[in-house]
């Protein structure tokens, strides 16, 4: 490893003027570092974004253009693929299904998960928390066979109910995990003060703690919505013709001999872009959710 690769990246101006003894051994490398950093980070951004841009570009090409190497970058954009996917393949239904399942699995998981996380945080119920968090470790396939059997007997397979329940299996542990670390970091003084002023403990939770927890609730809700929207395996088995979600609909695109790349890419854009826009506007919450628990011992 050379110095430049691992330097911590303090821009020259940000440091107090170094005295001669403090000066790093190879100052010229330090001066090269800002340029190196900009170059590498630009390349990084390019590598992470370019494939997504490529997906959008391909969705705007006709299939003839996709097969033509001369038209890699220069082509006449067309919305034909989108018209095809939204019109003939009726993707509006799948968009609604994905949205509906994600919405209700998030809402129900919040209703069940937030009070549980509160109790587990305030009463330090570590063993109970472990039980809920087990759901994050278990491979989903191992639950699918029994679920399928139970729900098939109850004639529920193919309805929204099973899909919402199965997505809650992902959302609930996530919400409990996130909200527990949120409540852990929330001071209890205000709750205590409210109880001194005559509120019951449950009243204090509902009227003091919950309003204070809006950032945490937003984080948990957004992440659980994203995870549900992106979920593929449960819907692949448990959804019916009328409740198919977007990821399953996209997967069904390729079960034929030849692939309609243009339409496939526009379908991929349709499923990915809404979630990216949500993430863009709620970036702070998404990041804090993804990194929750990272800095605890």
């Amino acid at each position: 490893m050379t110095d430049t690769v691992t330097t911590h990246g303090v821009p020259e101006g940000a440091l107090p003027e170094p005295t001669p003894q403090q000066r790093p051994r190879r100052p010229h490398k330090l001066r090269a570092y800002p340029i190196f950093r900009v170059l590498v980070l630009t390349l990084t951004v390019l590598l992470f974004i370019a494939p997504l841009v490529w997906m959008v570009v391909a969705s705007l090409k006709t299939n003839v253009d996709i097969y033509d190497p001369d038209k890699t970058f220069f082509f006449t954009p067309t919305l034909e693929n989108y018209a095809n996917v939204l019109g003939r393949n009726n993707y509006f239904v799948f968009i609604f299904n994905s949205f509906w399942v994600a919405l209700w699995s998030t809402v129900f998981s919040l209703i069940l998960g937030v009070p549980a996380a509160y109790a587990m945080s305030r009463f330090t119920m570590h063993r109970s928390a472990m039980v809920v968090l087990m759901a994050r470790i278990i491979p989903g396939v191992s639950l699918l066979v029994p679920w399928y059997f139970i729900f098939a007997n109850l004639r529920l397979v193919g309805g929204f109910g099973v899909l919402i329940l199965s997505h809650m299996f992902v959302a609930l542990p996530l919400i409990v995990y996130l909200m527990m670390s949120f409540f852990d970091s929330l001071p209890t003084e205000l709750e205590d003060a409210a109880q001194v002023d005559g509120l019951t403990p449950i009243g204090a939770f509902l009227r003091i703690t919950l309003p204070l927890s809006v950032p945490g609730l937003a984080t948990a809700g957004i992440l659980s919505f994203i995870f549900s929207w992106n979920n593929f395996m449960f819907a692949l088995v448990l959804s019916g013709a009328n409740t198919k979600t977007l990821p399953v609909a996209i997967f069904n695109f390729v079960s034929y001999a030849s692939i309609d790349w243009g339409s496939l890419m526009s379908a991929a854009v349709i499923v990915t872009v809404p979630i990216m826009v949500i993430a863009l506007f709620t970036q702070k919450y998404v990041v804090s959710g993804l990194t929750a628990g990272a800095t605890k011992g």
Partner: protein, 306 residues
């Protein structure tokens, strides 16, 4: 004073007192019952199925066969053990690459600079993208005939590669896809850890004349240890269970030569493509035990070190 109202109020008060007294379990129980019903019961069922010869239809009669399935699976060198190996290769390769790259990018992003916001937004995008769509996207890019990957290579005179359709190249290509999608998560976790570090130890080492590498290796990395372990555990669990991109790019059985068939894909195929529930449950139980063992090892080592 109306007696009716009085009893109602007293009843409400009694109920409220009871609820507040038992709020610990009142709050926690619904979630735990839900999880218990949706997990404990199915899991017990899976254990039971693994001891039977259940096959064909979930309603079909099945016989109790004891540990026969386990013996069969352990002796299966054609599908089971290669799948175990692939699971380890995929997880090990992906997590190792993600940790190294993630650490590099996190260090580059550590100190504030202009345009930092844009880099953060950019790396968040792969992370939230729908895995199935991501799989399809890379499937087009890596298409041997029309994909951009081979076109790109041709600019440098490198011959076209089979990528996803090659028997030996498919798994490394999918590791690449996983690295593309999940390195940002490692970056974000490590960055959160780095930001919470105090600057003094680093400063002290700098004044003592330590090189950048020495400061990273002997100051930052040890301080960051618990964050690194959290990142490995979180990513490791998900990488072991990777399903979406594998199934979306290679379909049933992990391709015609089972070249990307990991334990999860194998178990899914046994369950829903071949309806071989007995064997599938056996594979799943073993898979589950494997995950727990790995997690236990990682967290146990961590506790032992503390």
């Amino acid at each position: 004073m109306a007696v009716m109202v009085d009893t109602k109020v007293t009843a409400w008060k009694a109920y409220s007192t009871w609820a507040n007294h038992h709020r610990k379990w009142l709050f926690a129980a619904p979630a735990m019952i839900f999880v218990g019903l949706l997990i404990a019961v199915p899991l017990a069922w899976t254990v039971y199925l693994s001891l039977t010869d259940a096959q064909g239809s979930v309603r079909a009669e099945s016989k109790f066969v004891g540990i026969a399935n386990y013996l069969k699976v352990f002796g299966d060198t054609e599908r089971f053990w290669p799948a175990v190996l692939r699971t380890f290769m995929f997880t090990g390769g992906a997590v190792a690459a993600e940790m190294v790259l993630g650490m590099g990018i996190a260090l580059l992003l550590w100190r504030p600079f202009k345009g930092e916001k844009w880099v953060r937004v950019a790396i968040l995008m792969p992370l939230v993208a729908t895995p199935v769509a991501v799989g399809m996207m890379w499937r087009l890019i890596f298409d041997p005939n029309i994909g951009f990957a081979n076109q790109f290579l041709s600019w440098f005179g490198i011959p076209p590669q089979p990528w996803l359709s090659g028997q030996t190249t498919a798994l490394p290509t999918l590791i690449f896809v996983d690295v593309w999608q999940w390195t940002p998560m490692i970056v974000l976790i490590l960055l959160a850890g780095l930001t919470s570090l105090s600057e003094e130890p680093d400063e002290a080492a700098r004044i003592d004349g330590a090189s950048s590498w020495q400061r990273f290796r002997f100051v930052t990395l040890p301080l960051l240890r618990s964050t690194v372990i959290v990142a490995i555990v979180l990513r490791g669990i998900d990488a072991l269970k990777t399903f979406d991109i594998l199934y979306a790019t290679k379909g049933k059985g992990g391709g015609s030569f089972h070249e990307v068939e990991t334990l999860n894909v194998y178990a899914f195929g046994l369950s829903f493509d071949y309806n071989d529930y007995g064997i599938a449950s056996t594979v799943l139980i073993l898979f589950f035990l494997l995950i727990i063992a790995i997690m236990w090892m990682v967290t146990y080592r961590r506790k032992a070190e503390q």
